[in-house]
């Protein structure tokens, strides 16, 4: 870097313009702050600014606007840490952890749990098996109980209820919170309620002043009741935690959980015809657009991957796919967990349609297109070659698995 000080008039203009989105990042370093004991600390190096001739200038009139500060990327804001050293009580939350991560529904539930604990209690998250979540602290978890072991793998509701029952007798949480969702929370919560012999509040969407409101019957009535110990809450029951950080300290059960003899044996997932799954609820979609040249290969790849097929508007207009396969504003709004966009540059209408998708993979020739900006993994290259390689890679993997099994 050269020693010549260069003025950046644009940056100076941004630094003066308080309404500019980058204004905050151009402000000079903090010059004084209040220390832990209340004494005002000063950083003499941060006072003033470097003038155009390279000499530090201190403007004591208070009108200083930063001047020639190098543009920094916005600093990561460290949220204040909320600590509960000795919890007076616990509120236990059993998140769904769809795909090993906290869902939006789970986060809402932690928000509700924070309402219920106040400052004395602690929010306890109970997670079964492996997980991929890294943000338990910002989700609002004070204590994290991980129950691992092969007995919890797969579909083992009876063993899980056994563990929750053991936890209930050891810690006696003030409340149990479950997501009332089809991903397992509704079932587990009801099983635990039946085991404990307590009446839960179901489909709760509001908790206020010790009262809770939940949908009843077919959803045309509300049931108002005093807040029970077991709560099965609907999505958006509370705002998720956003302003604090929490410890998420590991916790373990005092006594190991007794193993139950399973009466329900998990026979594993059954292959479902991906084309028969409605696109709006398909979990895995491979979508093709203008960049797909060989549609036969595209269909072959979708079959090999076991994915539901989708298409962009262009592909549908050109007659390569049927209208009911169109993803986007005028087609279907998909909720897939994994969305692979092949040769789709990402018109805003298409990006709206995939707004709810978790992981997006893009294959495209143009490295500047909007789909690449949205995608978690992008391959810049020709779609035909990538599809061909993908089919081969899958075949190789399948063959390898068969050989290992044999």
């Amino acid at each position: 870097m050269s020693d010549v000080i260069r003025r950046d008039p644009h940056a100076e203009w941004i630094a003066r313009n308080r309404l500019h989105p980058l204004h905050a990042s151009l402000q000079s370093q903090q010059a004084s702050w209040s220390g832990p004991t209340g004494v005002v600390r000063k950083n003499p190096h941060a006072v003033g600014f470097i003038g155009p001739n390279g000499i530090r200038r201190i403007d004591r009139s208070g009108a200083e606007q930063g001047g020639n500060v190098r543009r920094m990327s916005t600093a990561q804001v460290q949220l204040p840490l909320h600590q509960v050293p000795a919890p007076a009580f616990y509120v236990a939350v059993v998140p769904d952890m769809v795909g090993g991560r906290l869902s939006a529904h789970d986060r809402d539930l932690f928000g509700l749990a924070r309402q219920l604990v106040g400052t004395q209690g602690a929010v306890l998250a109970v997670v079964f098996g492996e997980h991929k979540e890294t943000a338990f602290d910002t989700a609002g978890v004070d204590r994290l109980l991980r129950l691992e072991g092969h007995e919890y793998l797969g579909y083992a509701p009876e063993q899980r209820v056994q563990a929750l029952h053991a936890l209930d007798s050891q810690l006696g949480p003030r409340h149990w919170l479950f997501p009332d969702s089809r991903d397992g929370g509704a079932e587990l919560g009801r099983r635990l309620a039946a085991r404990l012999g307590e009446r839960p509040a179901t489909r709760v969407w509001q908790v206020k002043d010790g009262l809770c409101t939940g949908r009843a019957g077919a959803g045309y009535q509300d049931l108002n009741q005093a807040l029970p110990r077991l709560i099965l809450a609907a999505a958006e029951c509370a705002e998720p935690v956003s302003e604090t950080r929490h410890e998420a300290l590991p916790l373990s059960l005092e006594r190991p959980v007794v193993r139950t003899l399973p009466r329900i044996e998990d026979g594993g997932a059954v292959a479902v015809d991906p084309a028969a799954i409605p696109m709006a609820e398909a979990e895995f979609i491979v979508s093709g657009g203008n960049g797909v040249k060989d549609w036969g290969l595209f269909h072959q790849a979708a079959v090999a991957l076991g994915a539901t097929e989708g298409a962009s508007r262009v592909a549908v207009d050109d007659g390569f796919m049927t209208r009911d396969r169109q993803v986007g504003a005028s087609g279907t709004w998909v909720t897939a967990r994994v969305y692979v966009a092949i040769g789709i540059s990402g018109a805003i209408q298409h990006l709206q349609g995939i707004g709810a998708c978790d992981k997006v993979v893009a294959v495209n020739m143009d490295p500047t297109c909007d789909m690449i900006k949205r995608a978690d993994l992008s391959i810049i290259g020709d779609s035909t070659a990538v599809l061909q390689a993908l089919i081969e890679a899958i075949a190789k993997r399948r063959n390898g698995a068969e050989r290992n099994a044999a």
């Binding site: 308080r18 309404l19 500019h20 989105p21 905050a24 795909g99 579909y155 009876e158 089809r182 509704a186 079932e187 099983r191 039946a194 009446r199 839960p200 179901t202 409101t213 949908r215 009843a216 019957g217 045309y220 509300d222 049931l223 108002n224 958006e236 705002e239 302003e243 009466r263 329900i264 026979g267 594993g268 997932a269 059954v270 479902v272 398909a282 979990e283 895995f284 991957l305 076991g306 967990r337 994994v338 992981k359 993979v361 294959v363 490295p367 690449i372 900006k373 949205r374 995608a375 978690d376 993994l377 992008s378 391959i379 810049i380 290259g381 020709d382 990538v386 061909q388 390689a389 890679a393």
Partner: protein, 256 residues
């Protein structure tokens, strides 16, 4: 051995008019039972035997329907437990939740807990039953299915993934018999403490911008959706690209 199958039904409410009708999920449970057991299927209701909506179930081809007589606001559970224990049923099918009243969906779980039976949630299909073990398909979200082997006797709940219920025919509905049985009446204490009221529309979640300064608010209003730090593979061969995609798909568990 032909195993005895009992389906529990309730009175539903039409989504538009609110008029009493057969409950959607319960009708699917009856359909599943009819496919399995045919005329041997036993259908059971707890409530008022004079309820005309019960005839909608009879119209699906049932000769009779047993009703454990109970006034409105009673607890259906104690009578049912006693009845099912004596009936020697091998499989009990029920809808996932009632369309009227509390509709908490707890009844199958409570029955299973008291009777000591396993409960299967979201039954889609019964593949076969042999040696006291039922091999069933369970419906999962996103159109997926899971195979389960469950020991009989069992309780299964049925939701929208089960086969669609057949139409109800008027003639059989009028000819069928509603057989009333006397049971002990237990009041449900819930409604003494809680109130049912017409559903309030849920408040829409607002996008709250927690900005301290004007600049932050301006940024929140004008900034494009976050440009996530996605991985971009440029100048790699097609094979390397395909490997990277496959690795992500396997990590996410969508390719097995």
């Amino acid at each position: 051995m032909k195993s005895k199958i009992v389906t529990l039904v309730s009175v539903g409410a039409h989504p538009a008019s609110g008029r009493a009708r057969r409950a959607e999920h319960d009708a699917r449970a009856v359909e599943l039972g009819l496919r399995l057991a045919g005329q041997a299927l036993e259908v059971l209701h707890v409530g008022d035997p004079a309820e005309p909506a019960l005839r909608d179930y009879l119209g699906m081809g049932l000769a009779h329907l047993d009703v454990l007589e109970q006034p409105a606001g009673g607890d259906a559970l104690p009578g049912l437990i006693e009845y099912l224990r004596d009936a020697g049923a091998q499989m009990v099918l029920a809808g996932s939740r009632a369309e009227t009243g509390e509709g908490s969906g707890m009844l199958p779980y409570l029955l299973a807990e008291r009777l000591g039976w396993p409960v299967v949630v979201g039954l889609a299909e019964i593949e076969r039953i042999d040696n006291g073990i039922a091999q069933v398909l369970q419906a999962l979200p996103r159109g997926q299915r899971r195979r389960l082997n469950v020991r009989l006797p069992l309780i299964a709940t049925v939701d929208a993934a089960a086969p669609k219920a057949r139409q109800s025919a008027y003639g059989p509905a009028q000819r069928g018999e509603l057989l009333a049985h006397e049971v002990e009446i237990v009041a449900d204490e819930l409604l003494s403490a809680a109130q049912l009221q017409p559903a309030r529309p849920r408040p829409k979640r607002l996008k709250v911008i927690k900005a301290k300064s004007g600049a932050d608010r301006m940024k929140a209003a004008t900034a494009k959706a976050s440009v996530g730090g996605g991985k971009v593979l440029k100048g790699v061969s097609a094979e390397e690209g395909a490997e990277a995609i496959l690795k992500l798909l396997i990590e996410e568990g969508v390719v097995r």
